[in-house]
């Protein structure tokens, strides 16, 4: 109940929809999940800036600046998450951008804690529901406010 109440309060304090950049880094071309998440977030009222495949950290930092992004969502299906995700977080820190990074995809249970330690704000597994996606994004953005 208290969660519902606080979200109403949030709503009345600003009309601006969340702006979320969605991208994949590196060679991995599995974008089914990213495209589904884009639709989930759109239907949750977010503005999704969809970059799609083969973006670099520099691309994403630059886009986040221009689009004044609230959150960055990365999708990873190639087991490269342990190297790529921390590098993204590091690139944002280097640019002094305080924007949370959410990683989705096939992430083994044992990698979740190390990723969080590396500064990833949240991890969404392959079976995450629409409700879970929406709540996670809202929570990580509000945590930075």
């Amino acid at each position: 109940m208290s969660e519902a109440a606080s979200s109403v309060e949030t709503e009345s304090s600003s009309d601006a929809p969340l702006r979320i950049v969605l991208a994949k880094i590196g060679f991995d071309g599995h974008d089914r999940g990213l495209r589904v998440v884009a639709r989930i977030l759109r239907d949750a009222g977010c503005e999704v800036i969809y970059l799609g495949l083969r973006q670099t950290n520099e691309d994403i930092v630059s886009v986040a600046e221009q689009e004044d992004a609230d959150c960055i969502g990365l999708s990873m299906h190639n087991a490269g998450h342990m190297t790529l995700a921390p590098k993204m977080v590091e690139a944002l820190r280097a640019a002094e951008l305080d924007i949370p990074v959410v990683v989705g995809g096939i992430i083994p249970e044992s990698d979740i804690e190390p990723l969080k330690k590396a500064g990833v704000a949240a991890i969404l597994g392959p079976g995450a529901s629409a409700e879970e996606v929406g709540r996670t994004v809202r929570d990580v953005v509000n945590a930075r406010a």
């Binding site: 060679f27 071309g29 190639n78 392959p126």
Partner: protein, 542 residues
């Protein structure tokens, strides 16, 4: 007895049969086929491509191999051959599939992970060392840089004394579905099709035992399409290749017999069977009626099937074994020529050896215990199966009509237009989203995910991890090859290749074979061609 039946009987009797008893487990003898004409092996081949189907030959139980270094995979290949396997199926790692070398910036963490790394001819030599390339059939799953891999395979074979005319195998080489679904593209669509045409012309002239394209719907389905979309986009791509080959001056009957297909087998049992039966019928009709094929072999839609990786759940992964069994059965009842069964742990990581063995055993149970191989097209004539087959065909024809509409009466042009304007990608993503919403709302039950979730045991599951030694090793190896080669020869061979690429009347295959002989790397060859053709960036149309 009708004439059709007599013809079928003649064909059946001429076929060599396996030496087993065609009877039920209880000893009841069964006929090789039931129901009405057209019979298996008869146009439009809805009921199968052969009169005797699995009574003559079971499907090929093809399992994908490729990991670590070329030497590692070579050892696995030799083991497969020792165990009586006649076909080698090669998986490449992501950098190789994307046309980049192991020392590329983005390759970090990817080298040798999901397949074998092949940077230069030296790796191809190690991969097929001590293997009799005249007697094995090799399948290479690679698309964007398919011509480079093919050039390396040919050069390596010739270096080892095998004539290219004797080489047998298949290269996937299906670039169109990369733009639609799998996304492992390099160049824009039109120059990519030029390369496809070069390879098709080259193999048609020089390599009669080689299949240059395996038209693949598998990845379209994995990206989230419906069964009918998979069917239509795949066959549509097949028509596009036919149109491109004919435009490049080939006769349809010189080329079409060496096209093969690759479909997904998903969980909706009858829909899958209907899809596979419709695929044969549509292909036969279109090749005969629209493209004027005379040779029966041009009209045969022969295909490989793989169970649906996307259907496997990370929750309670053991139950995936049951999913795979049902999907495998659908592929067989749909009349597949070869089958790959997924390992139950693939939703978590690369398959372990145990999981891969269980997957193979699953096919063997279908083949040897269920009795479904005794009768060709055992479901033919069932009102529901026949209706489903018609329905799949109807939906596919609607999509073809759309492609012809946006392509000025050309499927090839319609396919280009659909790639350019995001039609395929958008339709597939919509279907994926529709499915996801159905699962989310609970209207569609996925066992272990949104229902029956008790019993998920997450601890201590053994997962396959590739250590980073492979990557270090491969990078060092690449550095050594580069240090030992003649750089001047590499530069000259690339310049010749670029000149051929700039002239659309030239075939790029011969200069590409010369380039790989100088130890030019895959990445160097691809970069040189990007200078001519450009690099594709996906329009992010949702």
């Amino acid at each position: 007895m009708t004439e059709a039946y007599e013809n079928w009987k003649q064909a059946y009797e001429a076929a060599k049969l396996r030496d087993v008893d065609f009877e039920t487990m209880s000893g009841v003898p069964v006929e090789p086929v039931y129901g009405d004409a057209p019979y298996p092996g008869q146009y439009p081949y809805t009921r199968g491509v052969h009169a005797s189907m699995y009574r003559s030959r079971l499907w090929t139980m093809r399992m994908f191999a490729g990991f670590g270094t070329a030497e590692d995979t070579n050892m696995r290949f030799k083991e497969i051959l020792r165990n009586g396997g006649g076909g080698l199926s090669t998986a490449f790692d992501m950098p190789t599939l994307m046309g980049r070398d192991s020392d590329h910036e983005w390759s970090e963490g990817e080298v040798g992970r999901a397949g074998v790394a092949v940077d230069t001819l030296a790796d191809m030599r190690d991969l097929f060392a001590d293997i009799d390339l005249d007697s094995v059939s090799t399948s290479m799953t690679i698309n964007g840089p398919a011509n480079v891999a093919m050039a390396m395979y040919i050069a390596n074979a010739e270096n080892n004394g095998f004539a290219k005319a004797g080489l047998a195998g298949t290269i996937q080489g299906d670039i169109l579905k990369e733009y639609q679904a799998q996304k492992e593209y390099i160049f824009p669509p039109r120059p990519s099709m030029r390369l496809v045409s070069d390879l098709v012309r080259y193999t048609t002239a020089e390599m009669p035992r080689w299949n240059p394209i395996s038209v693949s719907g598998y990845h379209i389905r994995e990206a989230g399409s419906t069964a009918a979309q998979e069917l239509a986009y795949t066959l549509g791509n097949g028509f596009a290749y036919v149109e491109a080959a004919v435009a490049a001056g080939l006769d349809v009957d010189d080329f079409a017999p060496r096209l093969s297909f690759f479909f997904n087998s998903h969980s909706d049992f009858f829909e899958e069977i209907g899809k596979l039966r419709a695929a044969r019928r549509i292909w036969a009709r279109w090749l005969k009626q629209r493209y004027g094929a005379k040779d029966e072999r041009s009209m045969l839609c022969r295909f490989h099937t793989q169970t649906a990786g996307v259907s496997l759940t990370a929750q309670q992964p053991e139950i995936n074994i049951a999913r795979v069994a049902i999907q495998a059965l659908a592929g067989v009842l749909g009349g597949t020529q070869s089958l790959h069964t997924d390992s139950f742990d693939e939703a978590l990581a690369l398959p372990t050896e145990d999981a891969a063995r269980i997957a193979l055993r699953t096919q063997q149970i279908v083949a040897h215990e269920t009795g479904v191989t005794n009768v060709a097209d055992p479901l033919g004539g069932s009102p529901y199966v026949e209706w489903m087959t018609d329905e799949m065909e109807r939906q596919a024809e609607e999509i073809f009509a759309h492609l012809l509409d946006i392509g000025d009466d050309s499927i090839l042009e319609g396919t280009y237009a659909g790639i350019d304007n995001g039609y395929f990608v958008g339709e597939i993503a919509e279907s994926a989203y529709r499915f996801e919403r159905a699962v989310n709302s609970g209207r569609r039950i996925v066992v272990g995910v949104n229902e029956f979730t008790d019993g998920d045991d997450k601890e201590n599951r053994e997962l396959l991890r590739i250590d980073s030694e492979v990557e270090d090793y491969q990078r060092k190896r690449l550095a050594t090859v580069k240090a030992e080669r003649n750089d001047e020869a590499v530069r000259a061979s690339l310049a010749t290749l670029v000149a051929a690429a700039e002239d659309p009347t030239e075939n790029t295959m011969p200069p590409m074979i010369e380039a790989v002989r100088t130890m030019a790397t895959e990445g160097e060859i691809v970069s040189a061609l990007e200078g001519v053709f450009g690099t594709y960036i996906e329009p992010a149309v949702m």
